[in-house]
Amino acid sequence: MSALVDFAEVEVGEHLPGIRIPLRRVDLVMYAGASGDFNPIHWNERIAVDAGLPNVIAHGMLTLAETTRVVTDWTGDPGAVISLSCRFTRPVPVPDDDTGAALMVGGRIAEKLAAERVAVELIALLEEPDQSEVTVLKQARAVVQL
C-alpha cells in the first residue's frame, strides 16, 4: 500500500473533494452486467412500480461504489481502504430520460486513528427535481491506511 496523503497533514473536519455523479438507465444496465445483479427493479419500470417503488432504482452498491471514489481518489491507492460500511436509507430513482438522476458524493475526516489510519464519513446526496438534496446513505464510513 502506498497512499498519496501524508497522515500528519490531515485534519479532523477537513472535507475531501466532492464529485457530481450522473446516473442514467444505461449506467444501471452496465452495472447490472458487470456485477451480475440482475434484479429487475434496477432496469424494469413495470416490476419496480409493481413492487411499490417510485421508478427503477439504482443498485445500492452502485451508489456505494460511486461514493467510495471520494476516498480512493483522495488516497490514490484503492487498496488502502481497511473497512467500508453504510446503510442504504433512501432509494435512488432513475427516470427514463437523457439526464437520469444525479448524486453529489463527498467525504469528511471524522477521526484520526492509531497506526496512521483515518476514518472518513462518506456523504451521498440525491438531487431532487426541485434542486433540494436528500441523503441516501447513512452511517457511511471508510477507514483508510495512510
Binding site: A34, S35, A65, S83, L84
Partner: protein, 135 residues
C-alpha cells in the same frame, strides 16, 4: 461451487461500470507501483461474489423471498487486502439472523471471502430487506 477466478478484464469491466478511472484497476504497471502483484479490484467488488453465494440461500423456495421485493439495507466490508487479478476465491456465506421490523423482514448474512489456499481476503456482512412481506 467451484472457486471464482478473478480476471483482469472483469476488474476493468467492473471499474468501467462504476465510472472509476483509477489506474490500479486497468494498468498492471500502475498497480505494481502501488505494491500489488496485479490489477486490484475496487473496494465494492467483493459484493459481486458474496451476492452470488447468498443468492442460492436467499432465493431458496423454502425461504420464500420475492426478488422484486428485496432491497439492500446495509453493507459492511473488512479488508485484509484488496482482491487482485489471479485470485481464486471461495465464499463462505451464512445467514446470521432473520428478524421482522414493522412490515419488513431483515435478513443478515455474513460472508468470508478467501483464497483456495485459505487466505482470508475480505469479511462482509450484509442486510437484505424484504419489503412489506412480514406476516
Amino acid at each position: 461451487m467451484p472457486p471464482y477466478q478473478v480476471g483482469r478484464e472483469q476488474i476493468r469491466e467492473f471499474a468501467t461500470a462504476i465510472g472509476d478511472n483509477n489506474p490500479a484497476y486497468y494498468n498492471v504497471d500502475a498497480a505494481r507501483v502501488l505494491g500489488y502483484m496485479d490489477l486490484i479490484a475496487p473496494p465494492t467488488y467483493p459484493f459481486t461474489l458474496t451476492m452470488r453465494a447468498m443468492a442460492t440461500a436467499i432465493f431458496d423456495p423454502d425461504l420464500g423471498l420475492d426478488y422484486g421485493r428485496v432491497v439492500h439495507g446495509e453493507q459492511h466490508f473488512l479488508y485484509e487486502r484488496p482482491i487482485s487479478a489471479g485470485d481464486e476465491l471461495v465464499v463462505r456465506a451464512q445467514i446470521a439472523s432473520i428478524e421482522t421490523r414493522g412490515s419488513n423482514e431483515l435478513l443478515t448474512t455474513k460472508c468470508r471471502v478467501q483464497t483456495i489456499q485459505d487466505e482470508l481476503v475480505v469479511t462482509t456482512s450484509e442486510v437484505i430487506v424484504s419489503r412489506g412481506t412480514a406476516a
